[in-house]
Subunit: 290 residues, 2 copies
Amino acid sequence: MIIVGGPAANGIDEKISKILKYDLVKVEHKIFPDGESYIRFPKSLENEEVAIVQSTYYPQDKHLIELFLMIETARDMGASKVSAIVPYLAYLRQDRRFKDGESLSIKTVLGILNDVGCDSLIVVEPHKIDALKYFNGEIKIIDPIPALAREIRKEVENPFVLAPDRGALNRAERLAKELNAPFTHIEKERDRTTGEVRIKELPTDNFTGKDVILIDDIISTGGTLELASITSYKLGAKKVIAAAAHTLLVNNALDRLKKAGVKDIIGTNSVKVEAEIKIADISDLIAVKL
Amino acid sequence: MIIVGGPAANGIDEKISKILKYDLVKVEHKIFPDGESYIRFPKSLENEEVAIVQSTYYPQDKHLIELFLMIETARDMGASKVSAIVPYLAYLRQDRRFKDGESLSIKTVLGILNDVGCDSLIVVEPHKIDALKYFNGEIKIIDPIPALAREIRKEVENPFVLAPDRGALNRAERLAKELNAPFTHIEKERDRTTGEVRIKELPTDNFTGKDVILIDDIISTGGTLELASITSYKLGAKKVIAAAAHTLLVNNALDRLKKAGVKDIIGTNSVKVEAEIKIADISDLIAVKL
């Protein structure tokens, strides 16, 4: 197998190739003055099994188009099998038509991956696993919790895992098991008139003296975790840290979380993060699945 | 038929709908804080023939993904036929593998248009018509020359049309016919060692007292037309203007052309142009093909 590093491989390509001792091919790429992407494989891929590493963090659409170009080109060059390692898969949250006439964006994205010739898809902590049904091929899901737990252990003494909403409960349970810690979640509800999300029920647990670890799949604007952090301190938490597979940290998320008392943020290298947060490497977790 | 205006319709959707008296549906769209596009059709498309207007100027990849989402969503909503009106189609210049291992990007883009459910494709002045062979469906090509000629006539008294290279010769011939003017071209060659492009042979025509109109399909960085303008003045031109279907004008193209003596630039509304140039409307030329 050949590991291919795309423009948004974020270093994971090199690490996997080193762990598995597989050949690494770095794709030649540039952006033309007008903004179009250029892609070239500098080596023959004929009759080779190829695993293309390309995440799809911001700018998502550019990284997606580059991924489509790489897969089809690898196919055209005679690769015998093409896997796409997409640590962060964009558009996974657009998995339902909340209103009539909305695009089911993840269906389109996964359909295109099929059509350009992707045989196998490897994704880290998808927002909803069910949304991957639109891909017709082999799917491998990477649980980033072991990598996050490695980093979290360095930061906490008396851990308590808190899911900021019901949707993150399963993640909290997995993390709590890794850390041998208790866990709970916040129950929220949406106001039917205003659409505002508020806390319906507080955890009954006492967080006094505890290092509370907030866990989610994605940190985007930070709104969900901001509320969870404030709540944790109200319940007596000693300190609060936040962990997520994909730390997008858009707008002023970092400031917002710091102000809400979040002492540390831990993410994985599934996305490229400019802010100074702690990064857990997921390359070994991907490598064992290849 | 329903005309659909996408996020990059650039006003052409409204003009076509007005000319043909067809219903216009404006797609609801926004960009989420993390950068993902959101698309929604606010009206039923069931059993309707739909023509989606979406150009793919910069940011090309975002506009392409939006186009893919719109086509598939229209299909999912039961549209009986989906046409894509893409006045400027990105990646058309990546139509050959100049080196082994390069992506044949236009093949991938056109293949995806097929796969998401596009029945018919309408494109204005493609860089090379031959590249459209990768689309399996109805193709309609819009010649923007009549629209450009309408604007050019306002600016010139004694026109002479000049193609800046052999590739633009056919365009020059079409424009010369519209303007009832003579035309010629510059013969260029590429230095085999340095890769530099230089003039091989100057036109033998005398441009004295003439308004020279440089014509090309795309003005990108302006390098090709810069050389042609300087050459025109050397051959006695009274003034030089430049016309093209797609005025991308990247980097400092506008300054560059002004400095080379180009008095006016005329483009079409196939792309959104921030610079103050003259815009020829192509909506009526598209409407007659629907």
